[in-house]
Structure formats: C-alpha cells, structure tokens
Amino acid sequence: MMDAMDAMDAIGPMSDDARAILLLCTSVAAGRGDDARPLGPAGWAKVAAQVARAGLAPGSLLGLDEAALAQLLGDAVPSAEAAVRQLARTGQLAIELDRLAMRGISAVTLADDAYPWRLRDRLGPKAPPVLFTAGERSLLNAGGVAIVGSRDIDAAGESFAADVASSAARAGRAVVSGGARGVDQTAMRAALAAGGTVLGLLPEGIERRIREPETREALTDGLALLASPYNPGAGFTAGAAMGRNKLIYALADVAVIVASAARTGGTWSGAEEALKAAWVPVFVRQADDAPEGNRLLLRMGAHPLNAPEAPDPATVTPSRQAAEPAAPFVQATLGLDDNA
C-alpha cells in the first residue's frame, strides 16, 4: 500500500539533523502559547555555523541542557532556555509530522539529500531551512520555466502565460509558479492541460490548498508538487508572498515575467530581486500593450520575449555571475562559506 509510511520512507528515515532543524525553524511541534519564535533562514545559518565550528552536526543539539546549549550557540539563538524547550519536543514533532504525512504532506530540510540543490546553491544562507511539500517530490529538482506576473491580468497577458506554459509542457519542461490567482494559476492549468508538470510555491501553508479537488487530482496523479516554506496550516500574508518569490526563480532554470506593475507590487519586487541576484536568466514579455513595469525591467537588463514560447536558458549568457558560488552539501547545510 502506498501510504504515509511509504511517503515518509521516500525521504528516508528522519535524521536527528532534520529533527533539530524542524524543531528550531518551524512551529509544527510548538506548545500552545509558547512564545519562542522559529528561526528564519538567517537565524538558522548562524546556529548552523556555530555547530559546525564546534565540529558537530545539528542533531547533536538534541538532548543538550541549557548550559551546554548556551555555551555552544552563544548569541546565535535569542534564548538558550527557549531553544532547549523547542528541542525537547521530539515526541510532539513525530506525532504532528505523522498527522501531516497522513494528509499527504511531508517536510524536507536542509539536512536532507532531497532538499532542492538549486535553492541550496543559489540562495545559500537565504535558503529556507524547511519546505513542506505535497505531490510528486522529484519535481523539487526538476528545474523548468518559472512563469510569474500579477494577479490581475488582461486577456493578452493571460493567453501569453497560457501559451508559454503549454510550450514548456510540450517540451517536457516543468512550469514553476506561485500558485496564486491570475498568471500563476493560468500557467499551471495550461501546463497540466498540455500534459506537463507543475511546481507551485505557495504564499501560504499548503494544507488547505491540497483539499481543492482540481489541485488534489494533479497531485495524486504525480503531475504536480506544491511546496511552501510556511507552516502547513498558515494563512496568506503579503510578507509571506514576497518571501517565497525568490523560491520561484531559484527553483527554475529560466524565468518569464508576463506582466508587472512599475515599481510596486509583489511581481515587481520579486523581479527586481531576481535580476539583481541573477539566479537564472530572466525574460520579460515584450509587447506594445504590455504594462509599464515590463518596459522598465527590460531596461534593467531582462531579456525580451516576443513570442509566447518557453525560452531556452542556454541561448543567453547570464547578465551576471551567480551571487553565491555552488557550495558542497555539508557546507551549504551548515551555512558556511569557503573561507570559514
């Protein structure tokens, strides 16, 4: 029976390293009313660096008492007392992860081999320590074509997004999108309709979304993966939407911006960040009726895309070198750079 057990086996038995990351960087095992804040990417990077400096692995944090933890981590954690409390909750973590597994949701951490190498290499210390996923796990490392754009989109933009998505699908390339209304969902639907696969990075927890029959069927059929760095039960926030934009770019091999407002909104700020970081080549729809933001992005160095086809990243030279050098597994996990 393909069941929750197999789903967990697919990731391999959970390592103590993964447990430590989940306990410190998420609130899935948190106690009610516990005010210990989960660590974000930067917070975790600091902890990981301290642990590595001591020649240890993150799993060795489990079972340390407050004094030992304080000595090891120094001011890398806001409160050693809170961290000990978080790290003691392995039992609750197991129960909650099992509950999630039964819903089709699993977690992948920086300590897991299954963690997408594109995020690890491209985002470095900004890589989210944990992703919650549902659906076909291999899509995490499939690369593909990111298709982004605003929620409110005109008919021309919509058909452009759909055409790019179906051309990607026909070429056997995955479509990466944000899973929001507008361009995101248009692209995902078109890709699935053309027999392709999609990877959706949600701006909220994935627990509610996977209940929608249409989404659920794509996930069950192994044609889609939903992923989110936020707690599975978390609701949508604008900040969360901004935070996950970089994941859409960094998980793809090439990005297409269909429509962006100028100097405002999530699409714009995500695009600006992606151009600056140059994780992947960025294309922008070029058309007379395209919005002002598109023209500005082209002036900032984005590649023009005139026909609604999935662009081939091999045809362009990146405008800049990748911001972070590709780091070997352990160092990236621990948030070290080569000079440490």
């Binding site: 069941d3 489990l62 099992d98 509950r99 089709g104 549902a134 029959p213 069927e217």
Partner: protein, 680 residues
C-alpha cells in the same frame, strides 16, 4: 539507583516488598534516554508497576509526562491509587469524558499531569493532536504502548489505528524512551513489534503459564447443549467469572438464559453504553455479579486478581486471543478454571470474521471513488454511491485513513493527494496468519497433551512445560454429559427468544417516512438452535415452513404479542425466489387466526435480491423498485404483514407504506426469523 527503585517499590506496596523476576531489570532498561524496551510478561506480572516507577524516576529527572497508549476504556480506580502513592497524577482522555478535557488541558499546560492514558484511536482525532497535545508544556517524557502486539500485523487483533502507532515509534526521536508491553506474543509477533520499536530493543520476557489456572476444552453439539452446560456448572465455579461469546447477540442471549436459571449474569458488549459498562466492570470487581457475559469488548486492561473462572461459549479465533482472555482468571487466587466450550457453528463464525476482516479491494476503490471530484463528503453521501454496509464503509474509510489516502474532520471525509493502491500480498498474508491461528485453536481443542503446555508452545514460550493440573494432565475434568431436561429447557428458551422488529422511522436520507409500521416480531434468529434451524430447512430444503413452526408463529401472535389494534386481515410479501413459501405459511397463519388472507403485494422478478443490497440507501431504493401493490385488493382494517426473513427491514417498511397508502389500517410486521447476528 538500585536503592531508589526499592524505595519507590516500598512506597507503593509497603515495607519489605520485593520486585518480581524481571521487574527491576525492566525499570532500569526503561528509564534511560532513548531506550527501547519490549516487555513480554503474563498478565498480572506487574507491568504497570514498571511504568509507574519509571515515570516517577523520569519526572524527578525533569522530563515531561508519560503518554500511555492503552485500549483501556477507563482508568481503574486501583491503578490511579497505585500511581498516587508515588505522587503521580494520571489522567485519561476518552470520548466519554470530553467534559473534563478543558480541565485536563489546563493541567497539561501547567505540567500537573504525570501520566496521560489515551487510546490509539485518539491519534486520529484532530481535537487531540491539534488541540490537546500542544498544551503539553514540555517534552513527552516517555511513550508506552500497552498491548503492543496490536502494532504487529501478525497479532491476533488487527486494529488499524495501531498501524499509526507503529509508524510513530521510530520517529519519536533519540531522547524519548519507548516501552511496549504485551502478555501475549509468539516469536513472530515479538520480532515484528521489536523491529517496529527501533534499533537495540531490549526484550524482557518471562514465562506465560499460570500455576493456578486449570484448563479444559469440551466439544458439545449445539447452542442448546452449551447453554445447558453453563446453567449446570457455573453455580459450582469458584467466585465470579466471565463467559466470552463471539457475537453481541449471543452475549444477550446467554445472559438472559443464565438469569432465567437464577444465575446473576449480565451481558457486556460494545452496544452497551460506556458508562454502564464501567458500572458492570465495577460490579464484577466487587463480586456483585456471578458472571459477566461478554464479547472481547471486555478486554485488555481489565484486572481482577480473584477472577475464579473464564468460560468460552464459542472457540476463539487464535491462541493469543484465547490465552489473553483465559489468562484473566486466577491471577491472585490458588485455583481458577478456564473452560472452552465449542460446537458446530464455531467454524462458521470464525470464517465469517476472516471473510469480513477486510473490505474487498474493489469496494475500497468505490469508497475512494465516491470522494473523487468533491471537496468533502459525509458517510451518508458515500453510502448513496457505494453498495456496502455502513460498517464496512466505516472500516474501509478507517483503513484508507490509516494509509493516508483519506482524511476526516468533524464527520467530513476527504481524499488526500496520496496515491493509493491495495497491498493484496499484505492482506493475503494477514488472512493466512488468521487461518493458521484458527487451525491452532482446532488443535488445542483436540489435543490430549497438557493444555497449558500446548498453549504455551503455541505462543513460543521457551519456558513451556507440563502444568500437572489441567484436565489432560491429572487435574479437574468437567463433565461432558449435559442434563437432558436442561437441554430441553434451553431449546424452549431459544424458541421463546422472540426478536422485536423495531420499525424504521426515516428514509435512508434521514427524512421522516410518511407511514410508520407498528413494532413487529420475529419468531427466531435464523439458523439458531431454537426455531431458526427449522426456518432454514423450510426455506432452503423442504420449501415449506412445517406445522410446528406455523403453530409457534400463531402462538406468538395470539399469546405474547397480541398486536393492537388487532389485525382484521393477513397479507404477505411473496418471495419471488422461493415460490409460494411465504404465501403458503401466511395463508395457514390466517386460517388459524380465522382472518382473511389477501395476496396484494408483489415483489417483481428481475431485480437484485434484497439481501445483496448492502446499506440503507441501496436497500430502500431496491425495495422501492421491486415491490408492487394491487391497490384495489387492499382491505381497510389493521393488517398482519408476513415475511420470511427480515434483515434491513426496508422491504417491510416499504410494503407497509404501500399498504397504508392504499387504504389499509395500521401494519403489524411478522417474520419467521431475523438474519443472524454480527460480532463484537
């Protein structure tokens, strides 16, 4: 630490108390961070003492509360008292004490709870996992799985929720100690459970035999003989005890028979309200009852040291199960008796349990199919689309849920994005194990070897040896002959065991019916040792209900029943598959009652048989398709409506509705038998 453990023991049991063989070793193994221990010891050995003292030690070292997964319905008062002697506060969470949950939540948050007892089913409950568990302020200090054989597929009881517990154990992390306890496990189960507990499992295993228990096994012809045997011999059994039955209906029947024979007996089964059950357990504990007649609903965790006897009314399906049940007797007394009665319907019941252990794969797929394309669905929605009994749909949903293919929240079921395919090989393996266990039980009945040694060897007990006091080994041999008069009385009792046919009041969709039948009566339980066998013979062999059966029906109608307002005419539901069987019998009943008999209802050919319809939706729809009425023949007065065998009652319900709609008076349904009973 050694002295400390002794101090705790004496605090619990008094100065000078000594550990039993293996107890100290078990506690020492259990209290270490991250240890994994499986305790295989006979019931009454003192497993709870191990986890009480271990919890005390862990709590004193600053760890969080112990969670004990246990099938206990309610915590026994004496257990709470034992815990209290060590200053431990134990609470239980179950559906019956939901009112206390808020207080328990507050206590958990304030770290005032030392031990939390929950059933495995709780872990499937959102309220528990998402609301209650997060209130535990610190860590989970220790995790105990009572009756740990349940997490093995090869255990005699397959409890789907324990699959989830088995999955949790290796995930609990490197710090939390995990303890499994069981009284009953053969090598295969021990190996399986140990593997699920994780690496480096310490197995603490002791001998299973109990010196005070005298075993015997007696084949008897039928239910009547076994009832007679019970009535004759229970009064001479020491103290109070348990009679185990395989089905709910049998517990009620046996209890009623014993009461009629002035034995203080009460039925105990899953249909009895939880509060009442707890009261019955207390009554048995206090010897206010001679005997509790129970299904396995009276099960694990029930501890009465002076229980004098355990009798099985039918042969149980597995040696592990039998050992566990019979092992409730004689824990704290010098002599106790374990007598297994067995008869010809035992194989049939056992095969039925095996056949219905898993819903067929195709039906599982249908249940899943009913959830496709919709966000959520209720059980009712599913029953409308799937021809399966409600119980089987619930079982299918539970299996699918444990497999992660289906989730549920507040009565709404939904499909998860997990692909599901049946594991036929696994199911076949489980069923095969069941058949082997059944074969072992047949051997147990037939053996002339020492019974305790035979049973212990079936359970792979390395210490198995001749007991010297079972019926095969020089001990008491209970009589095989039954008193003839008592047997006749038992047959009369079974024949008088009239079943009520409670009227349906709602359509399958829950809407109220336009007409509601009066309360009806059935003469027998199909194929039982009362009239049931004669009904079976009439229906499938001779094609005619014999005169005695019809006379019994008339006696019931004019005697114990006396329907009111009295019927002025008789009609019948003509069974298409069985010729004139029912019409003929109804006509003879009418003649003896001096009433006119009218054939106005027809069940048309070419439709599916009602007995193939598996749930209310399907049954109501099929009955409506099938039944026709010649309205101009219907008489105005109250009517006796005759059918052969009643199961879902939909045919009688729809027929009654048709009669009323065409001008008859109130409808009194009568059937020759109710379809036979279900288990647990």
């Amino acid at each position: 630490m050694t002295d400390l453990l002794q101090t705790h023991l004496e605090t619990m049991l008094g100065a000078g108390a000594v550990f039993r063989d293996g107890q100290r070793e078990a506690i020492e193994a259990v209290v270490q961070d991250g240890s994994r221990t499986l305790i295989v010891q006979r019931t009454g050995w003192g497993k709870s003492l191990v986890y009480w003292i271990a919890t005390r030690v862990r709590r004193d070292a600053g760890h969080g509360p112990t969670i004990i997964v246990s099938p206990l319905l309610a915590l026994m008062r004496n257990q709470i008292q034992m815990a209290a002697r060590l200053g431990l506060r134990a609470v239980t969470l179950n559906s019956a004490n939901r009112d206390d949950w808020a207080a328990i939540e507050a206590d958990l948050a304030a770290d005032r709870v030392d031990v939390l007892f929950v059933s495995a089913q709780r872990f499937a409950n959102e309220d528990f996992t998402s609301r209650l568990l997060p209130t535990i302020a610190g860590s989970i200090g220790m995790f105990v799985v009572d009756e740990a054989h349940c997490i093995s597929d090869w255990g005699h009881e397959f409890v789907p929720d324990y699959r989830r517990i088995g999955r949790l154990l290796p995930a609990l992390g490197p710090v939390v100690p995990v303890v499994g306890t069981t009284a009953t496990a053969n090598d295969r189960v021990v190996a399986d459970v140990a593997a699920q507990l994780g690496r480096d499992v310490r197995v603490v295993r002791g001998p299973l035999a109990r010196a005070s228990l005298h075993l015997d096994a007696i084949p008897l012809a039928d239910q009547a003989e076994r009832l007679a045997w019970l009535a004759e011999h229970i009064p001479s059994m020491p103290g109070s005890g348990i009679v185990y039955c395989l089905t709910v209906a049998d517990t009620e029947r046996v209890a009623a028979w014993l009461q009629a024979n002035e034995i203080n007996a009460v039925a105990y089964n899953a249909d009895v309200d939880a509060g009442v059950r707890e009261g019955l357990e207390q009554d048995l504990l206090a010897n206010r009852l001679k005997v509790l007649v129970a299904t396995i609903a009276l099960g694990m965790g029930f501890d009465k040291p002076d229980l004098g006897f355990v009798i099985h009314f039918q042969r149980p399906g597995s040696p592990i199960g039998y050992y566990q049940q019979v092992g409730r007797a004689g824990r704290g007394v010098a002599d106790a008796y374990g007598v297994l009665l067995t008869g010809r319907e035992d194989d049939e019941i056992a095969e039925y349990f095996i056949a219905t252990a898993f819903p067929p794969t195709a039906r599982m797929q249908e249940v899943l199919g009913a959830l496709d394309g919709v966000a959520t669905a209720t059980i009712r929605d599913i029953l409308e689309h799937v021809n399966l009994p409600r119980g089987q749909v619930e079982k299918a949903l539970k299996l699918l849920e444990v497999d992660g293919a289906v989730g549920h929240e507040r009565g709404h079921f939904f499909r998860t994005p997990m692909h599901w395919a049946p594991d036929e090989a696994w199911i076949a393996g489980v069923l095969d194990a069941r058949r082997q266990e059944l074969a072992s039980m047949r051997q147990y009945v037939d053996t002339s070897d020492c019974r305790m040694a035979f049973l212990a060897r079936l359970l792979d007990d390395p210490a198995a040896q001749e007991c010297g006091h079972c019926a095969n080994d020089g001990g008491k041999v209970w009589p095989r002959d039954v008193d003839h008069d008592l047997v006749l009385a038992a047959i009369r009792f079974l024949r008088g065991d009239i079943r009520l046919i409670l009227s349906r009041k709602q359509h399958a969709d829950g809407k109220r019916l336009g007409f509601i039948n009066g309360e009806g009566h059935a003469l027998s339980v199909y194929n039982d040792a009362g009239w049931g066998r004669r009904v079976h013979e009439g229906k499938y062999r001779t094609g005619r209900f014999d005169d005695e059966v019809v006379a019994a029906a008339v006696a019931l109608i004019t005697g114990r029943w006396q329907p009111s307002p009295a019927p002025t005419w008789v009609t019948a539901i003509l069974s298409t598959a069985h010729g004139s069987l029912v019409g003929d019998a109804a006509q003879r009943i009418a003649a003896q009652l001096g009433l006119p008999y009218v054939e106005c209802l027809t069940a048309s050919l070419g439709h599916a048989s009602q007995k193939d319809m598996a749930n209310s939706w399907q049954q109501e729809a099929n009955a409506r398709r099938k039944l026709g009425i010649a309205g101009d023949l219907v008489l105005p007065g109250p009517v006796l409506l005759v059918d052969d065998i009643v199961d879902s009652k939909w045919t009688l319900t729809v027929a009654g509705e048709l009669l009323r709609a065409h001008g008859s008076g109130p409808v009194h349904p009568f059937a020759f038998a109710v379809a036979s009973a279900r288990g647990a």
